[in-house]
């Protein structure tokens, strides 16, 4: 088993290889991704912490089971995000998510990026802007919300998003454009109501 310091310098693909040799190394991969993926799960769905942890546990078990299926041509992060995305969708159907909306965790930088890219006026109070973004994201169709989360909150590029949702780059670009238009439309509508 590699030590903590050694593991920090290794790439994901190297850690996968080492995990296949010694299963204890899997925890380095878990440590590397659990917080990121927990945030991602919480952004995608409106379940409570315990359910989110269960989903995450299922994700890591699937990753562990399918380690030999990991293709090093792909980024490990894209692969694990894909498994997470699919697991959330599958669990979401089972759990019948609550209707009151999603607690999307948005940091300041992501909020500003999203506002700038979609060409909406962020406003002076960033907290209010974030709340508005949250409301608008909640009102969007799942397809658009998920892709905006990947693009602006998870900061994935087109190729990564393509690998996560298993759609061609062109389709990803087109969904993102459409999602941005929908977001802008909804944002304006919500601002008027507010």
């Amino acid at each position: 088993m590699v030590d903590d310091l050694g593991a920090q310098n290794l790439s994901d693909a190297e850690l996968v290889k080492l995990t296949l040799e010694n299963q204890s190394n899997f925890l380095y991969l878990v440590d590397r991704y659990k917080i990121k993926l927990m945030n991602y799960v919480r952004r995608l769905t409106n379940i409570n912490d315990a359910d989110a942890e269960d989903i995450l546990q299922e994700v890591f078990i699937k990753v562990y089971l399918n380690l030999n299926d990991f293709n090093p041509d792909l980024k490990f992060s894209s692969w694990i995000y894909r498994i997470t995305h699919n697991q959330v969708i599958s669990s979401h159907r089972k759990l019948k998510a609550r209707p009151e909306g999603y607690a999307v965790n948005i940091d300041d930088k992501s909020a500003l990026n999203l506002a700038a890219d979609i060409d909406i006026i962020a406003g002076t109070d960033l907290e209010i802007t974030k709340q508005n973004i949250n409301k608008v994201l909640n009102s969007l169709d799942r397809k658009y919300r998920d892709i905006l989360i990947l693009k602006f909150l998870e900061e994935k590029n087109y190729q990564e998003i393509s690998d996560i949702i298993r759609k061609p780059n062109g389709t990803v670009a087109s969904i993102i454009n459409k999602a941005k238009q929908e977001f802008k439309k909804e944002f304006i509508r919500h601002k008027i109501i507010l």
Binding site: L27, L56, Q57, I61, N66, N68
Partner: protein, 269 residues
């Protein structure tokens, strides 16, 4: 989330359930199965294309004026629908398998669809030039049930004496433009060439040759021919055991008197 507690629970779960990574060969096999199914679908689709080309090339273009009212009607009635549907199914299987390869999702649907169609067409054309289409048609004609009504509907079209179309195998020597012909139902016909001096039978008229004829019934067992063509697709049909038996009996001079004419569409094979 307490990170350490999470790790601990995960490790416990993995140990309790005795989970270990699935072996590499499992994923390789899965991948190979997808590719193998795709390649098989491509080959079967290409065979279908080669049969379609074969059937369509020899579907009676030169006699279409005599047999059909318009080019449009000829086109619609002579399309080999069974093989087109069959091809469509295998193109879809090829498309589905390509889409489900490891990187298949990276390519747009239309690109995979175009590739699937073109690959089947190109390989099918090659198969046609190698004689695969003819071979398949011969084999199916000899052995497949419903050949004349489903696989090659031209057989049914040409076996309609009352409408002036007859198909069959020459069962005896051609003497003075007359010969015996056995149709697909086993009826024996005396075929005579038109009294017109301009008409000369081509070289293909010899014992054992399957032919189709345009003309008219002049008596219960007599058919006067105006155009006689060698039968190209469907030749295998006349090598089937039943037809061989009829032919051999005729060659021995043991042809039964012709039974009454069957309804035009009574093609059981």
């Amino acid at each position: 989330m307490n990170p350490q507690e999470f790790d601990q629970k995960l490790v416990e779960k993995i140990k309790e359930a005795n989970i270990s990574p699935k072996p590499r060969w499992y994923f390789l096999l899965k991948n190979y199965v997808i590719w193998a199914a795709g390649i098989l679908a491509l080959l079967v689709g290409a065979v279908a294309v080669s049969v379609i080309i074969y059937l369509w090339r020899y579907n009676g273009w030169e006699t279409r004026v005599e047999t059909h009212k318009s080019l449009w009607e000829f086109f619609l009635l002579t399309l080999p629908y069974f093989w087109i549907i069959f091809l469509g199914i295998f193109i879809f299987i090829l498309y589905y398998n390509l889409k489900h390869t490891k990187k298949g999702y990276r390519y747009p649907v239309y690109l995979i669809a175009i590739f699937s169609v073109l690959a089947s067409m190109v390989l099918g054309s090659l198969f046609y030039f190698l004689g695969v289409g003819q071979k398949i048609d011969d084999i199916l004609g000899e052995r497949a049930p419903l050949y004349g009504t489903v696989l090659n509907r031209q057989m049914a079209f040409w076996f309609n004496p009352q409408e002036g179309r007859l198909v069959g195998i020459i069962a005896g020597d051609v003497v003075d433009n007359n010969f015996y012909l056995i149709d697909p139902a086993g009826n024996v016909w005396q075929v005579s060439g038109r009294a017109n001096n301009d008409h000369n039978f081509p070289d293909f008229l010899k014992i054992g040759e399957p032919v189709n004829i345009i003309g008219q019934v002049v008596a219960a067992d007599k058919f006067r021919a105006e155009i006689i063509r060698p039968l190209v697709p469907g030749r295998g049909f006349f090598s089937s055991p039943d037809m061989r038996g009829h032919r051999e009996r005729c060659l021995k001079g043991d042809c039964l008197p012709p039974p009454p004419l069957l309804p035009p569409n009574d093609l059981r094979r």
